[in-house]
């Protein structure tokens, strides 16, 4: 299912997700990509194994347990499980972690028009980074923009081409301050992407820049 994915997550991002130090919006990107990409799922398992090895070797002299620790834990167990089981994926375009945020599939996304047929839906995540779904009509271009921080974009439906590469379902494009790009959606199908940024996008033409504070792009 993931044989065709050509653009993957970096070691740095996978390791930060495994270590638990990524913020919510970027974690959503990792969880969504790994849901579609067996290669990155396997790499993530290796990073988790590093955590397991560190835990197993950890010196414990500084952290004596409370004397009644085991009994207290047995009492917690008797009280029953705290969290419900994680929901499984329903059929659709969005991987399960995104379906959790949208409360359904593509038909449940609450789009807002950005202009030129482009639409977006900002997902509710903790501060520090922003996750949004983007809808680019077939053949249309995203407004030309640069970045103050890092932007990661993953294709969920359709495909887009950047100056020198093509990105289809599951592919992740990683852009930083140096890259000014104008992604253009393939002509055959409307393109839906997940985009995560850790700083506001910076548009290079006048109109989108004026609109920027209002659109929260």
């Amino acid at each position: 299912m993931s044989n065709e994915i050509r653009h993957h997550l970096t070691d740095e991002i996978l390791m930060a997700y495994s270590a638990g130090s990524l913020n919510e919006a970027f974690s959503l990107m990792v969880a969504s990509h790994v849901s579609l990409c067996d290669e990155c799922r396997a790499r993530l398992a290796s990073f988790d194994a590093i955590g397991g090895a560190l835990l197993d070797e950890a010196p414990t002299d500084t952290a004596a347990l409370a004397p009644d620790s085991l009994q207290a834990t047995m009492a917690r167990i008797a009280a029953g499980p705290a969290q419900p089981a994680r929901p499984r994926r329903r059929p659709g375009v969005l991987p399960a972690p995104l379906q959790d945020y949208v409360n359904g599939d593509v038909d449940k996304i609450r789009w807002r028009a950005v202009g030129m047929g482009v639409k977006q839906a900002i997902l509710k995540t903790a501060p520090g980074a922003t996750a949004r779904l983007l809808y680019i009509p077939a053949g249309a271009a995203m407004p030309d923009h640069g970045h103050r921080g890092m932007e990661m974009t993953m294709v969920l439906q359709g495909a887009f081409s950047d100056d020198d590469d093509r990105f289809a379902r599951g592919d992740v494009e990683i852009a930083d301050e140096e890259l000014h790009h104008t992604p253009v959606a393939d002509i055959s199908e409307d393109c839906i992407c997940l985009a995560v940024t850790d700083a506001p996008l910076r548009f290079n033409s006048l109109l989108p820049r004026l609109a920027q504070p209002f659109l929260r792009i």
């Binding site: 070691d11 740095e12 390791m15 930060a16 495994s18 270590a19 638990g20 130090s21 913020n23 919510e24 974690s27 959503l28 990792v30 969880a31 969504s32 790994v34 849901s35 799922r41 993530l44 398992a45 290796s46 988790d48 194994a49 590093i50 955590g51 397991g52 090895a53 560190l54 835990l55 197993d56 070797e57 950890a58 010196p59 414990t60 500084t62 952290a63 004596a64 347990l65 409370a66 620790s69 085991l70 207290a72 834990t73 047995m74 917690r76 167990i77 499980p81 705290a82 969290q83 089981a85 994680r86 499984r88 994926r89 991987p95 399960a96 972690p97 959790d100 945020y101 995540t125 903790a126």
Partner: protein, 184 residues
């Protein structure tokens, strides 16, 4: 999985006994080994002793309740407990949601294959030895990343090392681990 010699698949038999027989003795042994490690992990991440104790009990109770989801072909018991403790830490320190990949990651569809489980455990043992062989400076940085809840940038501030040095040391460490894993 229960008929394998315990030293070849450490703790897997314990998890099976918890899952199949609600075996409190097996749980007590697992608890004695892992609970202090989980508590040390949470305290290194910045929790005080009281909070760390409470979260440790919570993590170990989760291990009991989720024993049926453990899949020894996908992770060692130590790795599985690490992921549960890490998720509890994210909740404890930041109160943020933790999006997880789809497909319950520890949910075996059928009886796990013993060969696969043994192969995975050998990889884990090998990885642990390779990590023991890392130069101290590289191992320290990996430990900070995993145990102190620090981004590379935060590690740079804490250690006074330039960000580029940290990134290249971590990259070197990963290269060494990869190399070690490829020369079994």
């Amino acid at each position: 999985m229960t008929d394998l010699p315990p030293d070849r698949l450490p703790w897997t038999g314990h998890v099976s006994r918890i899952r199949e027989a609600r075996d409190q003795d097996a749980f007590a042994e697992l608890f004695q080994h892992f609970a202090p490690r989980v508590k040390a992990f949470l305290m290194k991440s910045g929790a005080d002793a009281t909070l760390a104790e409470e979260c440790t009990q919570d993590v170990m109770a989760t291990i009991w309740h989720k024993a049926h989801l453990f899949d020894p072909t996908r992770a060692s018991v130590a790795t599985w407990i690490f992921t549960v403790a890490r998720n509890r830490r994210i909740d404890m320190l930041r109160r943020q949601r933790r999006p997880e990949p789809e497909d319950l990651p520890w949910g075996p569809e059928a009886e796990p294959d013993q060969e696969d489980a043994l192969g995975l455990q050998q990889d884990c043992d090998h990885l642990r030895r390779a990590m023991g062989d890392l130069p101290q400076a590289q191992r320290d940085l990996i430990e900070r990343a995993y145990f102190r809840d620090m981004s590379h940038r935060e590690i740079a501030t804490a250690t006074g090392l330039p960000l580029g040095t940290i990134k290249s040391r971590i990259r070197l460490a990963l290269d060494r681990l990869r190399h070690a894993m490829n020369t079994v």
